[in-house]
């Protein structure tokens, strides 16, 4: 069966040069008695972009939030199995969740800049983590904004409220805010779903540029986007009891052109066909 893919630039980055940054083994997650994730196992390579795709409600975001333990914020959440960052189990009781989140930053679906100036937004993390020196902070702010491809647009209005920026700028500000604390992994939860196509493309370019230095995991419902930006892709689905399972995981090119699982193929062709 041939699948007619409309993928502009299929990434062919050799992912086998990377090391395993995050490892998930047999992870299950429960909200009270409801099982949201069932026995997920996958290894996320460093210096690559991994996309998590699948129909809505299949647990993509829940899986993403497993990596920085944001699920902990919901009461009644229980996690089974093992999740490792650089070989260290992050659900170990001796782990400092705050330190974990410094290393595993997150960008949300809806841009959520703090109600303060652009500078303060970016400097917020470093300040809280103990950087006091004004000059040093300014340097971090400039560097992070440049990295996030926002510097040129906001350098004249650093004192303005972050909420006054456009949606796309706000999202890049949020990315700069994450970059400022120098994470190793960046989690992105449908970062473009609230943005227009132009802003979306800017964020995608930015992600490709960041991929050299950061491990990036993106949840997206947009399969063209997954195909455009990711190196590896994971396809998730709901089982009959609505628990999310991992159906297929592999290099993006392979997943989209030659899926091994019938369900993946159905989903992809259904969307494109």
């Amino acid at each position: 069966m041939s699948i007619n893919l409309n993928v502009p630039e299929m990434s062919n980055k050799p992912i086998d040069k990377c090391v395993t940054k995050l490892k998930v083994e047999n992870a299950s997650l429960y909200y009270g008695s409801f099982q949201a994730l069932r026995k997920i196992t996958l290894e996320i390579p460093s210096c690559a972009i991994t996309a998590i795709i699948g129909p809505s409600g299949c647990g993509k975001s829940t899986l993403l939030r497993l990596f920085n333990r944001m699920n902990d914020l919901i009461s009644g959440v229980k996690v089974e199995g093992n999740v490792e960052l650089d070989g260290i189990s992050i659900y170990d009781s001796k782990i400092d969740v705050t330190e974990l989140r410094k290393r595993v930053g997150m960008v949300f679906q809806k841009p959520n800049p703090f109600p303060m100036s652009v500078t303060e937004n970016v400097a917020f993390g470093p300040k809280r983590h103990g950087v006091k020196n004004r000059g040093e902070l300014d340097e971090i702010v400039e560097k992070s904004l440049k990295q996030a491809a926002l510097w040129d647009e906001v350098k004249d209005k650093l004192g303005q409220s972050g909420l006054a920026l456009s949606g796309g700028q706000q999202q890049r500000l949020c990315i700069a805010r994450v970059l400022a604390v120098e994470p190793e992994v960046i989690l992105m939860d449908e970062p473009c779903s609230a943005l227009d196509p132009v802003a979306t493309l800017k964020i995608e370019d930015l992600m490709r540029n960041l991929a050299a230095d950061y491990t990036i995991i993106i949840v997206t419902h947009n399969m063209q986007q997954a195909a455009r930006v990711s190196d590896t892709a994971a396809f998730m689905m709901m089982e009959s009891d609505r628990a999310g399972v991992l159906v297929e995981y592999g290099p993006t090119a392979q997943l989209f052109t030659n899926p091994k699982d019938k369900r993946t193929e159905d989903y992809i062709t259904g969307r494109f066909g």
């Binding site: 040069k17 650089d86 330190e99």
Partner: protein
């Protein structure tokens, strides 16, 4: 997926290992400890009140048995031996509360219905702050108004020896319990889903028929809670009844008799009571009964309100 290490890319060992070990953050732990203690304080104060009332109030029952205390019709703290019967206060409290509720409920519910269903938005926006102001007027002020303005009026209307009587107090109290009745009833009416009203209009009902047959029945439990909260307020109110109810110590036979409620009895006698003495204990026992009464009323109100909230939340 197979992993091969390549000399040019970083390996796990080379990644700048920023530890994940738990950090102490002593300052934050201390602050969070205080936050937790502050969170507990509401329980501590409530339990403290219960404890104090029991500790200071219960000993009186070694002197007067509970039956005589509750239903005795004489309060003679200075007699020898002293007599502590709080029936006059109980009856006064119940009588004044009942009358004030009978006055306040229809007015309050009607006002709420007007504000939520009938009033033009501009009128509602003007009236609501005025009702909020009413809630803010101190009870001593209401007592003073009752004393200076209402009691002469009641006196001449019913040809009484004094206008300082249960009825005057009840009228002032009804005014004071209006704000809570109006606001809670209005919330309840607001919570009635629009579909209900639209269905009623679609059947050709008039606005009033919709209010009367749809909105008020649907909001009934919320309105009931509002009434209970108003009752709770009336039972616990002190200054107004102290100033205008007349402070007579006999069991009142009619609403226009001067009377003393439980709250007023406490306020009147506490200054003269020897600390730790029998009268002191008796006063705390009145406090205990008052506390139990208001607690009961509030718990019922809260239960009803919870049920109302669940009814329309999907």
């Amino acid at each position: 997926m197979t992993q091969t290490t390549n000399p040019s890319s970083p390996t796990a060992a080379e990644v700048p290992s920023r530890g994940l070990k738990r950090r102490l953050r002593l300052g934050e732990r201390v602050i969070e400890g205080w936050i937790f203690l502050a969170g507990l304080l509401a329980i501590v104060v409530l339990l403290g009140i219960i404890f104090i009332l029991l500790k200071e109030g219960l000993p009186v029952f070694a002197n007067t048995n509970p039956w005589d205390f509750l239903f005795g019709t004489h309060w003679y703290p200075n007699a020898d031996p002293s007599v502590f019967g709080i029936a006059p206060f109980l009856v006064s409290t119940l009588m004044i509360t009942l009358i004030s509720t009978i006055i306040a409920v229809p007015v309050g519910v009607a006002c709420a219905a007007y504000l939520s269903e009938v009033a033009p938005p501009k009128v509602a926006e003007t009236v609501k702050p005025i009702i909020e102001i009413l809630a803010g007027i101190p009870s001593v002020m209401m007592g003073f108004i009752g004393l200076a303005l209402l009691s002469p009026f009641v006196q001449s209307l019913f040809h009484l020896n004094t206008g300082l009587c249960g009825l005057t107090a009840a009228i002032m109290l009804s005014l004071m319990s209006l704000p809570i009745i109006v606001s809670v009833s209005e919330d309840a009416l607001h919570a009635v889903p629009r579909e209900f009203k639209e269905a009623s209009y679609a059947l050709g009902a008039t606005k009033w028929e919709t209010i009367w047959h749809v909105c008020i029945p649907a909001a009934l439990s919320g309105i009931a809670a509002a009434i209970m909260l108003g009752v709770g307020r009336a039972i616990g109110e002190t200054m107004t009844v102290l100033m205008v109810a007349g402070n007579a110590l006999a069991v009142p036979a009619s609403p226009v008799d001067p009377m003393t409620t439980m709250t007023a009895a406490i306020a009147n006698s506490i200054g003269n009571a020897v600390r730790g003495g029998v009268q002191y204990q008796a006063i705390f026992a009145i406090g205990l009964i008052l506390f139990i009464l208001t607690l009961g009323v509030n718990i019922i109100a809260e239960r009803v309100l919870e049920r109302q909230k669940r009814k329309f939340s999907r």
